[in-house]
Symmetry: C2
Subunit: 388 residues, 2 copies
């Protein structure tokens, strides 16, 4: 397999884009990424999206978007794995380019969620769980996560406020991100007083939905050296990529507080990159709910079982800490257009590795990890990026 | 890239499966394929499906099905390209195995379409076209194809009855297929008198929807020789695989009667296999409508522009003809569970290449071609299979 590098990135703000269709959003991110890459064409297009069938009455997204952006006759396909669809699309594009099946690809994650009838989006998101055994009982996605958080607090003795730092950190980091959905800081008091959604998850434990698209352009590293087209920027390499699954329903797992699929995909990605958790400089994790940030950190080797809240309380997850998370706001404050979030994470890591993260630039950013979760820990995709 | 072989196949009947859920249908095909392959496990699962989000309120299909069939922790993902989703999933699985990213994969195409409110399935299928520029005007999928057929008859001077043999042949071949949705023969009179759907497309020009699943197990060829696990059957190799796109809307094409994406993907697959159209023994084409069978034959090099109806009239497409099509009934009579059809085609080609096609066994079946179409010629995937 060839080493693959990210030579272009693009993103739209995560927002309520009433004036833009799904393909227009995707196009905006793709055009930015192609301009950033200094290219006008690629061999293939991989679209990460979860909800276009239910919310936008649109499928065949691959060709819809390829046609719209002028990728004439290019191979194009949509990849879906619920909220990790963007990361799964990246993996599909990566395998296609790494294997030599194609010499360049653009991967776009896109979602348009806000232009829906009341309740429609919540119902559509429940499709990430087992429709016949979970959703049918009226269990919404936030309710599933609330049960997990409740259990975690019970097992390990943490209070609700012990989770505050995950949300506070994400919001603090979003302030300087022009593409963030909620670019404002919150205090611990805000967190404590936030409206309850599904006990113990309150509004500030949960990430906001949104419309948005993010894109990356992939080429094999060897094509660059011969053409010298890295534009003088540090070369961003995909050093590790892996995906694993667990049972789709949490009630089928021996331990509902252990994300096996995160542990497996992270372990595989570490091995590919020849790294250990200690070598990761920052972690764009899937903080759709604060409990998910906690479980990701534990399964990925950054904290022992039941210990991750300590990382927040000790300052380890903030910009100057041992393992900064959500450096541009994360799902919590940049926003979570579900099928796009996995690509947003990788775009943001690339900004950090290139030294283009503006006021949020980390001092040490050589190796960043992204982890994206589809369903309640059912599908988990881990990518490790490195600057060279 | 490693050479990849199909070592297991499975399928359910195409029918109205009121008693089975989407995952149960998929599971049935997967279990059959694994048993046929003599395996209990694979590294990855690729699901081809178009409509689960809109008709079944279910996404995250990869892990849903992996969990159901006991592929514990396996990488799993859904691939979508409208009616060619199954073929696109096959390509994704093929690239993953050929590249060495994984050492085995199962690809399943599955669709559950009949358990829907009246009109719901037609509306859901319109998602294969451009929602903003075609579907919004009330243009259904059959209406788009009717406009194309009308145009074809006008340009080339064929009468409606000149298309009869495509439907008659498919139905004749379905009689001996226990999995066919419409396993009965039709006469030319039946064809002429069939109820009009969207002029000039009548009920016997159109394929029936249905519920169904088909699956194949892929491994690299070199893994077989060392383990000697081809079970004494001819080895079925994927000799060519390519996908291309066109504009999503027919009105944007210079010639609405030329399937550029078919021509491009077929040309690429021929080149990979080192073959010409003359070398193809039979062709499982995408006869969702008889006009699509005609256009596929022309774009794939089996007839000149405007000439394919002659292949029907001359008997070339029947079982003893030069280029038999729809040997187990095709989309027309085996049935068209949209996201599954691309995998059904490949399962049926494998049966022919193994000499397991029963009463429909072709005398000469060394090389078979499958072509699957997503949208009105928007995404087209071509595979060439060979027995060795």
């Amino acid at each position: 397999m060839r080493k693959v590098v990210i030579i272009g990135i693009g993103q739209t703000p995560v927002s309520e884009h009433w004036d833009k269709s799904l393909k227009e959003l995707a196009g905006e991110a793709i055009f930015s990424a192609l301009v950033d890459a200094g290219r006008t064409n690629v061999d293939g297009l991989f679209v990460g999206n979860m909800l276009s069938g239910s919310l936008n009455r649109q499928e065949n997204l691959g060709v819809l978007i390829a046609d719209w952006v002028g990728l004439k006759h290019a191979e194009a396909v949509k990849v879906e794995s619920a909220c990790s669809s963007g990361a799964s699309a990246l993996r599909a594009g990566l395998i296609a380019v790494a294997s030599g099946e194609m010499d360049s690809a653009v991967v776009v994650g896109v979602e348009k969620m806000t232009d829906a009838r009341p309740g429609e989006t919540t119902a559509a998101l429940a499709a990430a769980a087992d429709a016949d055994y979970e959703a049918v009982h009226g269990l919404s996605f936030v309710a599933i996560n609330a049960l997990v958080m409740q259990r975690y607090m019970h097992e390990y003795g943490w209070k609700h406020t012990d989770f505050a730092l995950f949300s506070i950190t994400a919001h603090a980091n979003a302030v300087n991100n022009p593409n963030a959905r909620l670019p404002f800081a919150i205090s611990e008091e805000d967190y404590r007083k936030a409206r309850m959604v599904a006990e113990p998850i309150n509004l500030l434990d949960a990430s906001p939905i949104g419309d948005g698209a993010a894109a990356v352009v992939l080429v094999p590293a060897d094509s660059l050296r011969s053409r010298g087209s890295s534009n003088g920027r540090p070369l961003v390499t995909i050093a590790g990529s892996a995906s694993a699954t667990d049972t789709i329903a949490i009630h089928d797992r021996p331990n509902p507080l252990w994300l096996s699929a995160a542990a497996l995909s992270a372990r595989k990605a570490y091995a590919q990159a020849g790294l250990l958790p200690d070598d990761i400089d920052f972690f764009e994790l899937h903080d759709a709910f604060s409990i998910m940030a906690v479980l990701s950190l534990e399964a990925s080797g950054f904290a022992g079982c039941g210990q991750a809240p300590r990382l927040g309380l000790e300052g380890s997850i903030s910009m100057g800490g041992r393992i900064p998370i959500a450096t541009m706001g994360g799902l919590k404050a940049r926003g979570h257009p579900v099928g796009a979030s996995g690509v947003y994470q990788v775009v943001e890591i690339t900004l950090q590795l290139r030294g283009q993260a503006g006021k949020n630039q980390l001092e040490r950013a050589r190796t960043g990890m992204a982890q994206s979760i589809g369903g309640s820990g059912a599908t988990i995709v881990t990518h490790i990026l490195r600057s060279e």
